[in-house]
Structure formats: structure tokens, C-alpha cells
């Protein structure tokens, strides 16, 4: 397995996309440090960038990579290698290179300017988000043979979780505002990895009041630590389940 991963890794590094991604994150983190001196504010502004950019980059890079390494996958399938090993190596190589880019891009400036506890959870949530959206992108890649369709599905995942879902939740809260909705919203949020990541960060930053009454309720319901643990657990499931389904489909696929 390590041999296969190494070759995929080399292939990813050769495209230089990962370097651009790292550079972009470095640049924006440094820029935020120049603009502001309040630590909490920097983390919060970064959070907004991370919640948008990380899923988008993960989704697009993964689908493009999967389809451009189709030949490699085909070649490996005629060799004495397990299909699962090939697929999981692809996942691990893509996910780890994206995570590394993120950790370097956001982590290095903080190490230089000094880091707090909230930075660590910013790094952890970013890594989680990467894993989740790489998973979802792999799922959309095995669902279809057509590259543009796969990118379309993957983008739809991003669009849905970043924009549409929030609107949907707001609409429910607004229309049923006469009823006690705390538990419903809680459950609804668990169905959106981006929201979960946001909640982990907001609980960590102790500004959950900013999130209106759901945030306050969340904090009340779990207390900070339980809330973070609970949302991390669900986020973990979000990473595992799509890749598991994708693996099952890939195993039965004709190539």
C-alpha cells in the first residue's frame, strides 16, 4: 500500500496545484495578521475563509485528480493489488496532501506570530472539513464515468452544504417559530458538516452568542467541551460514511 501511495503522492506534487493552494493560504493568513492585531478576530476572519475555501478546493481538486489518474488506476487493477488498497491509497494520498497544504498554509504564520488554543481547533476543523469533502468528492467521482458530471455533483455538494442548507434551516426556523425548535435545529445542524465545523469553532472562541439562540442553546445543552466532542464525532462520521459507500461502489465497478 505504501508503494502505491508514494506514486500517487509524487503525481500530485508534480501538478503543483498543492503548492499554489499552500501559497494562497499562507498569503491570506499573513495578510490577516497585517490587518488586525486582535487574535480572536484573526481566527474568526480566517474561519470564514476556511469554511468557504477548504471545501471548495477539496472537492474540485479531488474530482479532477481522480479522473486524471484513471489510467493509473486501470494499470494497477491488472496488477496483483487489491482494489480496496488502490482506492484507499488514492483517498489517503489526496486527503493527506490537502491536509498538509492546509496545516502549513494556516499553521506556519501562527507559529511565527504565536498560537493560542483556538488556533489548534481551527487547524483541526480545517483538517476535518478537508477529509469530509474529499470523501464526498470521491463518492461523486465513482457515481459517474463522466468527468464533468462528477465535478458537477461534487460542486453541488459544496453549494448545498455551504449555501442552500443554511437557507433551508433558516426557512424552517422562521416558518415554525411558534414551536420550540431547539432540538430540531440541533439535529438539522448535524446534517451539515460545514455548520458543525462552524459550531466547533464558535464554541471554542466562546462567542456562541453571535450565532443567535441556536448557539446559545447548543452551549447550554452540551457545555463547551461536550459540544465540541459531539460535533467532532459527527464530523468524523461525515468523513467515514461517504468514503465507505464510495469504496463499495468502486469495488463493484467495471473499469
Amino acid at each position: 500500500m505504501t508503494r502505491v501511495i508514494r506514486y500517487i503522492f509524487n503525481d500530485i506534487l508534480r501538478t503543483r496545484f498543492i503548492l499554489f493552494y499552500t501559497g494562497f493560504l499562507l498569503l491570506s493568513t499573513f495578510a490577516l495578521f497585517q490587518l488586525d492585531s486582535d487574535f480572536g478576530k484573526i481566527v474568526l476572519s480566517l474561519l470564514n475563509i476556511v469554511l468557504m475555501v477548504v471545501p471548495l478546493v477539496s472537492v474540485i481538486f479531488t474530482t479532477i485528480h481522480f479522473f486524471s489518474s484513471y489510467e493509473f488506476i486501470e494499470l494497477m487493477l491488472a496488477q496483483p493489488i487489491n482494489r480496496r488498497v488502490i482506492f484507499l491509497s488514492e483517498y489517503l494520498a489526496v486527503a493527506s496532501s490537502l491536509c498538509m497544504a492546509y496545516l502549513i498554509g494556516v499553521g506556519v504564520p501562527f507559529i511565527m506570530f504565536g498560537a493560542g488554543e483556538s488556533v489548534i481547533s481551527l487547524l483541526v476543523t480545517g483538517v476535518f472539513l478537508t477529509l469530509v469533502f474529499v470523501s464526498l468528492a470521491f463518492l461523486s467521482s465513482v457515481l459517474t464515468r463522466d468527468k464533468s458530471k462528477a465535478i458537477g455533483i461534487a460542486l453541488l455538494f459544496w453549494f448545498y452544504f455551504s449555501l442552500i442548507y443554511d437557507g433551508f434551516v433558516l426557512w424552517i426556523i422562521y416558518s415554525f417559530s411558534d414551536y420550540p425548535l431547539e432540538k430540531v435545529t440541533l439535529t438539522l445542524i448535524a446534517f451539515n458538516p460545514v455548520d458543525l465545523a462552524r459550531i466547533i469553532m464558535l464554541l471554542q472562541l466562546d462567542i456562541s452568542a453571535l450565532m443567535g439562540y441556536t448557539g446559545a442553546f447548543y452551549k447550554n445543552f452540551f457545555g463547551s467541551n461536550m459540544g465540541i466532542l459531539f460535533s467532532s464525532g459527527i464530523l468524523f462520521l461525515w468523513a467515514i460514511i461517504p468514503i465507505y459507500i464510495a469504496l463499495r461502489i468502486f469495488n463493484k465497478k467495471d473499469l
Binding site: R3, V4, Y7, D11, R14, S69, Y70, E71, F72, E74, L75, M76, L77, A78, Q79, P80, I81, N82, R83, N251, K252, K253, D254, L255
Partner: protein, 244 residues
């Protein structure tokens, strides 16, 4: 060595393989013949586990190959269209294949030498012509002394000199008692290379016997004549049964 029992494969509504049953023994050389789209490549890919059968059984050395992968150590495969990572150099590709099958200590680089591939080791795959690509595919298929060789249209697109080199190599391997499966539309090549013939039409095995027997049945001395006679006989039979 390879036993195929009632193999069916459907792509949606299209039936590509229809109850194919074959018993391929080691030491024999099979010519897999049939018109375009008759299911030859699908059959080969099913044996390799790249295509999952809709129903039926494939055994390799007595073991079911479903979800197995270890048996592929014993197969050298040359695809019809060699698709390789495009920005890899030939040398890197060969090294990678060796690295993936590290267990094989001695490799057979006869074809790499014969095709003079080491001269263009630093060329990237996307710059190669179709014929050179075929040469790379052939060299990789023979690299690991595999007891089973599956060659999907090995001579298509090669220049006459290279065809002769490849044929010599195949004959050499045949003499060493390997199981060889070749698909091709160039029947004169198959006449030299194979001893058995399997004729597939619309996903069904129509003929499976030795080439000698086919020649005797059709009273022909050359394989291409014999096969065309066979096809005409089958067509005649089909038209009679349709009229009934």
C-alpha cells in the same frame, strides 16, 4: 488452469457475454476470434477482475477469483489500448511496475532490449506514438515471467520488424509451456501463434477446438480461409433456423 462457467455480463440492457463456458489449460495457446464488439475484451477483462460478471463463475487454478487479487501475480496482460499515466517517463513506468511486483526477483527484459526502449527511457508517455505505446505494453506484459499471458491484439499498430520480434517472443514463451490467450483480427498471425481457437459471436462461444480440427472440418489449409468458411457455415445455419 482458467475455468469459466456460465459467465454472463450485461451492460444495462445489452448482453455482452452470454453463458460463456471455457476451460483453458496450461501449455496451450488460444486464439480468441470474433467480430468487433463480440465480447472478446470483456471476457479478458472479466478474467482479470476488471469487469465484474453479472453471473457465472471464473476459477483460476481451482480458486474462485471474485474479490481475489493474488492470482494476478501469475498473469501478464497486454491491453488493447495501453493507457498509462501520461506525464510519466517510460523508464519511470518500468521501474514502477517492477517496484509494485517487488517479489519477482529476476525480470525478463528481452523485449525492452529488442525494441530498444532503453534508448527512449526519458520520453514521457504522452509523446509516444501508438506503436511505441504497444511496444511498452508488450514489454510490461512479458516482464515478470508470468505463467499466463493475455494479449489483446498484440500486433495491431506495430511495424513489421517489431511484429516479428513479438511473434518470436510469444512462440518462445509457448514452447516454455505457458498458457497464452491472444485476440487478434490478423488470422495469419494467429495461425503461427496458436494451437486452439475460440470463436465468439454476439457474446456466445460458437466454436472451441484445436486449429487443426477446424482446418480438417472445413477442408482448408490456412486459418483465415478456415475461419471464413466457418463463419459462412454458421450464417447459413442461422438463416435456416430463422426461416424455420
Amino acid at each position: 488452469m482458467i475455468l469459466i462457467n456460465d459467465l454472463c455480463k450485461k451492460f444495462g440492457k445489452l448482453t455482452v457475454l452470454d453463458q460463456v463456458s471455457l476451460n483453458l489449460g496450461s501449455g496451450k495457446s488460444y486464439a480468441l476470434v470474433g467480430p468487433n464488439g463480440s465480447g472478446k475484451t470483456t471476457l479478458i477483462k472479466s478474467v482479470l477482475g476488471m469487469v465484474r460478471p453479472s453471473s457465472g463463475l471464473i476459477q483460476f487454478n481451482g480458486k474462485d477469483i471474485a474479490n481475489e487479487w493474488k492470482y494476478r501475480e501469475q498473469i501478464g496482460y497486454m491491453p488493447q489500448i495501453g493507457r498509462y499515466p501520461e506525464n510519466m517517463r517510460i523508464g519511470e513506468l518500468v521501474d514502477m511496475m517492477k517496484n509494485i511486483r517487488k517479489e519477482v526477483k529476476t525480470v525478463d527484459e528481452e523485449l525492452i532490449d529488442a525494441f530498444k526502449l532503453y534508448k527512449i527511457y526519458d520520453k514521457r508517455m504522452h509523446t509516444l506514438s501508438g506503436g511505441t505505446r504497444q511496444k511498452v505494453s508488450a514489454s510490461l506484459a512479458f516482464l515478470f515471467h508470468s505463467p499466463v499471458l493475455i494479449l489483446d491484439e498484440p500486433t495491431a499498430g506495430l511495424d513489421p520488424v517489431s511484429v516479428e520480434i513479438l511473434k518470436e517472443k510469444i512462440l518462445h514463451e509457448r514452447r516454455m509451456g505457458k498458457l497464452i490467450i491472444i485476440t487478434s483480427h490478423i488470422l495469419s498471425d494467429l495461425d503461427e501463434l496458436s494451437t486452439e481457437m475460440i470463436y465468439i459471436f454476439e457474446g456466445k462461444v460458437q466454436y472451441n477446438n484445436s486449429i487443426e480440427a477446424l482446418k480438417e472440418e472445413t477442408h482448408e489449409t490456412r486459418l483465415n480461409k478456415a475461419v471464413t468458411t466457418l463463419i459462412k457455415q454458421k450464417e447459413l445455419l442461422n438463416s435456416i433456423t430463422e426461416q424455420l
